[in-house]
């Protein structure tokens, strides 16, 4: 058998042996990511924020004002929790975080609408919690615009003797229909889970793979080092791939996330990412001898990925430096793609993205080998006898 193949085989065997002794490898690399994913999927299972606590001050107390309040009360997005006596009381309810939305209907509101004085309803939102406020504001605006159009149509019918249809078209000369493609309900779980699931898995891969380089083999045994490093990448890449794919399956089967794309493409992308992350971690492991420091470095490189690649806050809104930095992160070539496979069913530039991940893996393999030879102090590290002995024994066999 070719020497490199033996080295690869031995390297993988070594990791399997390690895994048998150190159960934490399988716990961190495989079990914890899957459990965390189940936990996060359960947390976000509702998907859409609803029953936002709301308070109302109705200074008018007319049929129209009560009708407006009823609209909010009937809408699932809001939970009419308080009727405040005045605006100050309402403000303190928001200050104390008892409600997130407040509505103030002014005195003589109904009268002013009838007498064409265009009164104003005041909506107060708690701006400290963006995810709640953005939903509340969109829903409240929708409700109020509907009521306002209805009121305008009635005015036109009554005052200008228009027919209902005529009044409707005059009241709404341009209507608009909005279609939210791929995620019509704007489900937060659909938006977050495909990428965050993998984020957790890649953290597991990184934190286990970064501990795997223990030794340097004699500097004249180039092929052994190559096989040794490839073996590690294969082992952790495979473990990571299993974690990511299991997680995707759990999201589809258990949590019913829509998956519209090709599962084969998802598998290929996931394997490419797992190998890229494991090679990066092994490169870090080969250069940084102290395990805790190595772990801190890989933690800093991997854990903030979802922020840095624009998975949530779009990259187009970041300053140029961050845009360039994002392109050096393997997850950049995965995050949007996997979400698109879930929600849109297709991906753009798949070849280019997979190509980058393969190139990244090969570059990290090269850097890892350099690290094993040079080490942190640019001198060979102690020869790990067990490795050479076992390799020798295998050759003899």
């Amino acid at each position: 058998m070719d020497e490199s193949c033996i080295s690869i085989y031995e390297s993988i065997k070594e990791e399997i042996q390690k895994m048998k002794i150190d159960k934490l490898i399988i716990i961190i690399g495989l079990i914890m990511p899957i459990l965390i994913n189940l936990l996060i999927s359960w947390e976000l299972s509702k998907g859409v924020i609803d029953h936002i606590p709301m308070a109302v001050v109705d200074y008018d107390d007319s049929q129209l004002s009560r009708q407006i309040i009823q609209y909010f009360s009937d809408n699932d997005s809001f939970d009419l929790a308080y009727y405040a006596d005045n605006q100050e009381a309402l403000q303190s309810l928001i200050d104390e975080s008892k409600v997130k939305v407040g509505m103030v209907i002014p005195e003589r509101f109904s009268e002013e609408v009838t007498s064409l004085q265009s009164p104003s309803i005041l909506m107060l939102y708690d701006g400290s919690h963006m995810s709640i406020t953005s939903v509340a504001k969109a829903k409240a605006s929708e409700i109020l615009m509907t009521i306002r159009t209805g009121a305008a149509i009635k005015q036109l019918e009554g005052r200008l003797n228009m027919t209902e249809e005529e009044a409707y078209h005059t009241g709404m000369p341009i209507s608009f229909e909005s279609r939210t493609l791929y995620n019509p309900a704007r489900n937060f779980a659909y938006f977050m889970l495909p990428g965050y699931g993998t984020m957790v898995c890649q953290t597991g891969i990184a934190l286990t793979a970064v501990l795997c380089i223990n030794l340097i083999i004699g500097t004249n045994q180039k092929r052994d080092v190559l096989g040794y490093t490839i073996g590690k990448i294969i082992f952790y890449g495979t473990m990571g791939s299993i974690a990511i794919i299991t997680n995707i399956l759990a999201q589809i089967v258990l949590f019913k996330l829509p998956f519209r794309g090709s599962f084969i493409i998802a598998i290929i992308l996931s394997i490419a990412l797992a190998f890229a992350v494991s090679s990066l971690s092994i490169a870090v492991s080969s250069w940084i001898k102290n395990r805790v420091t190595a772990m801190a470095v890989i933690g800093l490189m991997i854990i903030p990925n979802s922020v840095m690649i624009g998975y949530t806050w779009p990259i187009m809104s970041m300053v140029p430096f961050y845009k360039i930095y994002a392109k050096t992160i393997p997850y950049y070539y995965y995050g949007d793609n996997i979400r698109n496979l879930f929600l849109k069913g297709n991906v753009t530039n798949l070849g280019g993205d997979i190509g980058f991940l393969i190139l990244f893996t090969l570059s990290m393999l090269f850097i890892a080998i350099m690290g094993i030879y040079a080490g942190p102090n640019i001198k060979p590290r102690e020869v790990f006898k067990k490795w050479n002995y076992s390799l020798e024994a295998f050759r003899k066999k």
């Binding site: 002794i21 150190d22 934490l24 961190i28 914890m32 936990l39 996060i40 947390e43 509702k46 104390e96 975080s97 509101f109 609408v113 064409l116 004085q117 265009s118 005041l122 107060l124 708690d126 701006g127 400290s128 963006m130 995810s131 406020t133 953005s134 504001k137 969109a138 109020l144 305008a152 005015q155 036109l156 078209h169 005059t170 009241g171 709404m172 341009i174 209507s175 608009f176 229909e177 909005s178 279609r179 493609l181 791929y182 995620n183 938006f191 965050y196 957790v200 934190l207 223990n214 395990r291 805790v292 420091t293 772990m295 801190a296 933690g299 903030p304 922020v307 809104s317 300053v319 753009t348």
Partner: protein, 396 residues
Amino acid sequence: MELFLRSLQEEIEFMCKKPGLIILLFLAIPVLTIWFGGAYYHEYVNDVGIAVLDEDNTSLSRNVIQYFDDSERFNVKYYAANRAELQNLIDQRKVYMGLYIPPHLNDDIMSGNASQILILTNGANVIIGNNAYAGAAEIIQTVSAGIEMKMIAGKGSLSESTARNMALSFNFTDRMLYDSKLAYINYLIYGFIAVFFQQFMLSALATMILRNPESTAKEHTVIKLAAKVVLASTLLMATGGLVIGYIHKKFNVIFSGNVKLALLMSILFSIAISCAAILLCAITKNKTKFSQVSYMLSLPTFLTCGYVWPADQMPELLMRGVKLLWPLIYFARPFDEIMIKGLTFVTVRQNVINLVLYIIVFMPLSLLVFKKRFGTNQSPNNIVSQKAYTKGQINL
């Protein structure tokens, strides 16, 4: 007290010999906060690329498009020739929104027939989708209201103001409290700082506790552990406070809170998270394994602390479980609201009580497990092998 001060001095001396610990305690929170803050430096999602399909091609339709192009939220990047191309541009992620203006829009409006503009938003990224939808709805409503007023004025021979009041039978004004701009940096940065504080407390305590766990467990355990907790939390709170001041000045992050209350919450949280640190140290008995577990916990603890997804929207059972096991849920969101909304003690009282209860339950438990695990003498070989493992010299 004397023993506490002596232990504190010992910890300071240990810290001074460990550059890694100095970096962790002095630089980690400021550097990471600025690094993350930089990513959210721009407050809004602006210049969203859109594609337009104008099948009307009149001055009105061009006017509508001009409104979009003039808005700082949008940037008209493509003019599609047909619907398939419009859909394709969105599918290919070349644009995030499509605007379809149907044929005869102008004629239909003039003749009083129904006409509808279609907005297609990419919902895959909820944040871009929501921003795009809100901006588009606002523009179309404005254009529509203008036309409506003109039509009413024309049909009823009414004055401009009467027509306006008839079209807008009532108005509604939105007031965004505490953060009028609804900036993303304000939404997330205090949550990140809370998580950084948690993670660096865990890491620093692991380094300090696992340097001499046996002697700590042997006698005066509480005092010796207290010295470690005090040193780590004081330095992390100080650097955290400094960086909050910095991002307030440089990134315009809102800072209008009660500093004393924020400090009280931070002190209680640092003690609460120390319980978790002591327990984890006792379970893992090894800095490397401790780091693996604590880093793995960073993402799920952040995602389940009610910051990104509100706690009251979580399944009840899960929320109870999280509250029982991990104290971040009592700290991250209240800390943010203290800083941004200026919450008072009365409002956060329940969280303060919960943190105290957590400490009362978990501190004795952690100490018990710690003493049990490290109280018995370990063989010197075992200790040497753990140190060597951390340095990456040998296999397990």
